[in-house]
Amino acid sequence: MNVLLGLGGSDESVKTLRRTIERTREVGDELTIVVVEKPESKRSQDEMYRQAVDELEEADITDVEVEKLDGDPGSALVNYAEQGDYDQLVIGGGTLSPMGKIQLGPITEFVLLNAPTTVKLVR
């Protein structure tokens, strides 16, 4: 399967990165990673980019393209997915509130409502 992974800079993105790398190793998916621009996140775009490259190296996965996307995260991600031949777009699947409620942000909503591919939310 040809998988596109979209990352912001949150802990949720790190978890999603690790799970996707694990899955890629297990089943031998083709993987492309894009890091969107989210100035309010915990990690900057450069930091997240670095982390993705490092974790791929550690996992010994070599043929993965990692790219930075500028502009509005949701729309940049959907545009990118539309340009390529992807079977699945993977993003983080929501954060938990103090109460334990699952919260999906506006980027997730935009992607779910606009992506041409199957979307996977990683919990």
């Binding site: 509130s97 334990g100 409620k101 919260q103 942000g105 506006p106």
Partner: protein, 198 residues
Amino acid sequence: MAGTRQYPDEPSGPFPSPPTTVEDRDGRSIEVRAAESFTGETLDDVVGMYTEFDPTDRAQGIPPTGEERIRTWLETIGDDSVNVVARHDGDAIAHAMLVPDTDDPSAIDHASDIEWELAIFVLQAYQRAGIGTVLLKNLLGHASDGGIERVWLTVERWNNPAITLYERVGFESTGTESFEQEMAIRLAGDGSGVTDGG
């Protein structure tokens, strides 16, 4: 994102404080009490209530299903939460709570220093009987008595009955909106609530 939420400038209220006993729209006598501590029998009763809860009314993953998962969920949030329970004939039939929005609740000096997340659940057989409104107001009264000033919640944005209820007591939209509508209310937090007797 703690600390960035928009709150109304003016406090809402005053709200009634528990305990209170009301007759619901179906003529049932409903007793509303604050839980002094959320352990032991009170916790058991509320766990029991959630095992009866129809999962079609779950919101954003809560309450979980199955007694064990319900208990774990309530125990995790239970320690520092503020809880008000409604009962009919001794059985818990509705529960409203506030959970501190902080990583380290033990480090709080005053309840007003932090924001609190609200949730309320009413067993299906007791919905549309006015109990939710009474319970919500009593939770807010109890919270204000305890010094809490800022309360927020999220509600699925198609859940118009719930949004209307929250607006009626003073919640306003914070402008953060995706699948969930975020709302916030300011309380006086000075114990100026009305004691309803009981």
